[in-house]
Symmetry: C2
Subunit: 233 residues, 2 copies
Amino acid sequence: MSTAPSPNASRDGDEEPRSARKRRGILEAARTLFLRNGYRGTSMDEIAGVAAVSKQTVYKHFADKKSLFSEIVTGTVNEAGDTVHDQVLKLQESGNLEADLRGLARRQLAMVMQPQVLRLRRLVIAEAERFPELGRTFYERGPGRTIAALATLFERLGTRGVLQLDDPHLAAEHFNWLVMSIPLNQAMLLGHDEPPSAPDLDRYADTGVQVFLAAYGRHSSALSPATPGGANE
Amino acid sequence: MSTAPSPNASRDGDEEPRSARKRRGILEAARTLFLRNGYRGTSMDEIAGVAAVSKQTVYKHFADKKSLFSEIVTGTVNEAGDTVHDQVLKLQESGNLEADLRGLARRQLAMVMQPQVLRLRRLVIAEAERFPELGRTFYERGPGRTIAALATLFERLGTRGVLQLDDPHLAAEHFNWLVMSIPLNQAMLLGHDEPPSAPDLDRYADTGVQVFLAAYGRHSSALSPATPGGANE
């Protein structure tokens, strides 16, 4: 027979999974409630109720409602942001830059326009003045990270002469917002959580890429090597 | 001595201005409180208190908090939107299209990045799911109207061959968001109400115009006369 595990090991073995399970349950309940009722419309009591744990258990895992909300924001944005970030950095070049960038833009747009990501973005904007650090987290883990990855990609393509640019970060900002702004701003202001149809989203992605390449592509006329403002200098 | 006015005329003459003055006072109080404390953080009691009128007087002028908020949104967005709309439609062409569009973009950006317009936009986004009609008002009187005016302008410039485009509305969307998205999205998520420095805003406006003209200008290479998606068709 095997040696009995020490009492400590036994306690760890039993409690860690249960504790982790409870934590996950609390996070799921909180996410559902925050996305449905907003930050101010959600209480720790309700979260405990939906998670079927005591309020003390909720507070054992999360110091306060704000910490819990922060965890939801970080988790959701990381999940969407990780995917986009990886897709940008691992872009397989097929030799057809426009097609490659279209594929990237379409995937990026589909990720950002997910109903739960839209709702979370709206919640973060709603609370941005009271909790600027949450907005900063959303920005840095979301659009900020995508833009940084795009800047790395564009700098590489610029070095090889595939793109013409002298400010990869600005080019990345332009790419990002050319692709996303039309449907994203409509969704934010009009309160739509269901994204536009896939063909509409693809059209925004494709035409955004076209404008980007007109400015920064190899045969572009306007943006390079002149610096911004160059036309009047 | 003049004939004494009829009792009715006297009542109208005295009460109309007082009533209008009270209404304006209520609107000012409500605007201050909504922008400071948000929609849910503001009560009709507080509005009455700051406006120094009774709660009944507030309700005499506005059926409920939502109507009052709607009036604030409409008034603020109309004020900013009217200016931008007029500037777009009355654009004086100097013969230097890039300079003209830069001037337009800079003025448009300065209008949208006003602290009170940013805060209102954030409030409207926060309430967009509960009050989609408010979001629609903001969208239609704000960006929607600017984009429609830009589309009219660009269609005219397209007809004259100054721009090359086959979808003026899409071109207008691209112009609008190329100019505004970088600072606007940062402001929304990071909770900044103070806009970036004027040189930074000018740079966003100017480089946005450059990208736009690379795609849609007379010597543009990519967007016209090919239709979107043309590169693969």
